[in-house]
């Protein structure tokens, strides 16, 4: 009885020694078949896939990244994985401080530009009042004390969200992650120092 397909493959691949198949020594047909299999394997094994352009790999990564980003931002229910939730959480970690900052700047801009309009039943002029709750923070003084916040307050009076997006002043969770990834050791140390400093204040 001749060797079957599995036995011949095991012999051709070398996972089974020829000595384990006594039939082979006495059967010219099986020996020829095994020899042909090895020859085809030898030819096929040496064939590589043509190397694409060096630019292709980054292009492929970018295509995948964009597709994944689109997947993650799809409405809940159409996204097929829990990753969408994690990504949303990550987005919120970025968006929350941005929203808080925007609220501060907006409040500052309003109070600086028209403090007298804030009178009546509202908060005292120059004091932030958000959602009807008086924060007790003198925003005008805070902004006046910091030239950078002052500049932002001025800018906020001129810009709307579309302007901000159009000017490329927004960021995304991915770009933040990327920036961290690309930091040098010194930059990471500095970031860690500032983080620690800020955390001890809060």
């Amino acid at each position: 009885m001749h060797l079957n397909e599995g036995q011949l493959i095991d012999l051709a691949e070398g996972t089974r020694p020829e000595s384990a198949e006594p039939h082979l020594a006495s059967c010219a047909r099986c020996r020829a078949e095994l020899s042909e299999l090895r020859a085809v394997m030898s030819v096929a094994a040496g064939v590589e896939v043509p190397e694409p352009s060096p630019l292709f790999w980054d292009h492929l990564s970018m295509r995948v990244h964009d597709a994944v980003a689109a997947e993650a931002t799809r409405p809940r229910g159409s996204a097929a994985l829990g990753l969408g939730r994690a990504s949303s959480l990550w987005s919120w970690r970025v968006l929350l401080p941005a929203a808080a900052l925007a609220a501060l700047v907006a409040a500052a801009a309003v109070s600086i530009r028209s403090p007298s309009d804030m009178g009546g039943g509202g908060s005292p002029a120059g004091t932030a009042s958000i959602g009807g709750v008086d924060s007790g923070v003198d925003v005008a003084r805070l902004v006046d004390d910091d030239p950078l916040l002052s500049l932002l307050a001025d800018l906020a009076g001129e810009l709307d969200w579309d302007d901000v997006v159009g000017a490329g002043l927004t960021t995304s969770s991915w770009s933040v992650d990327r920036v961290v990834l690309e930091m040098s050791a010194d930059e990471r140390r500095e970031l860690r120092r500032i983080l620690s400093e800020e955390l001890t204040k809060s």
């Binding site: 493959i9 691949e13 808080a100 955390l199």
Partner: protein, 217 residues
């Protein structure tokens, strides 16, 4: 409260930033900064990905894109389809990552997805490879000796022949010969038995011999 702010505009050459700290867990914040994704092993990278660190999946793609592309290329025999299929593979991997249990290596898992994506695509779209005798893909860097040219032409014929094999034979041969998967791993990947995989490899080699004929000596 943040004391300084800076926005980076596109094209800026130097990063400058200030911080607003909202992280409720200082230890976690420090960890997030100190852990370099590139230093993570496979399981940690998958975990980081599931935690929502988008850069982690980018890194998975970077590490495995060549193997996935090559597998797809061998399946379809052309760059354009292989490129599209590779993207599909990674998108499907992203969707299914939460189901990855680490029972096999990530590369084996990705190979399994690749085979399924390729088989699905191939079943609705015939491979666009040219007939072997009309093959146009010649090595344009053919300023080399004639033997090198002949080897290049033979490689083209073999790749085209592989892409013309019946689906299951093609999958078994590619995974076994070019991606070093065991018969058992291939059987798991294609939903088959070890015996069937060996039979498919056997018939794939026989068909390959017939298709490339005179080159096998």
């Amino acid at each position: 409260m943040a004391r300084a702010l800076a926005w980076t505009t596109p094209g800026a050459t130097k990063l400058d930033w200030g911080l607003t700290v909202v992280q409720p867990n200082p230890a976690a914040a420090a960890d997030a900064v100190s852990v370099r994704l590139h230093e993570l092993g496979e399981p940690e990278l998958v975990a980081a990905c599931l935690e929502g660190r988008i850069g982690a999946f980018d890194l998975i793609v970077e590490r495995h894109r060549r193997a996935v592309y090559q597998l797809c290329y061998r399946f379809v025999g052309n760059h354009e389809d292989a490129s599209d299929l590779s993207q599909d593979v990674f998108l499907r991997a992203y969707r299914g990552l939460k189901n990855f249990r680490g029972q096999s290596s990530l590369s084996t898992w990705l190979h399994r997805i690749s085979v399924n994506v390729c088989l699905n695509r191939v079943s609705v779209k015939a491979p666009q490879t040219e007939p072997i005798e009309n093959e146009q893909h010649v090595d344009t860097r053919s300023e080399s000796p004639s033997e090198h040219v002949l080897r290049g032409e033979r490689a083209v014929r073999v790749r085209a022949a592989v892409a013309r094999l019946p689906e299951k034979q093609r999958a078994a041969l590619i995974l076994r010969m070019y991606h070093d998967m065991s018969h058992q791993e291939i059987a798991d990947a294609v939903g088959s038995s070890v015996g069937a995989v060996k039979a498919n490899v056997f018939h794939a080699l026989q068909n390959l011999k017939r298709l490339i004929g005179e080159d096998v000596r």
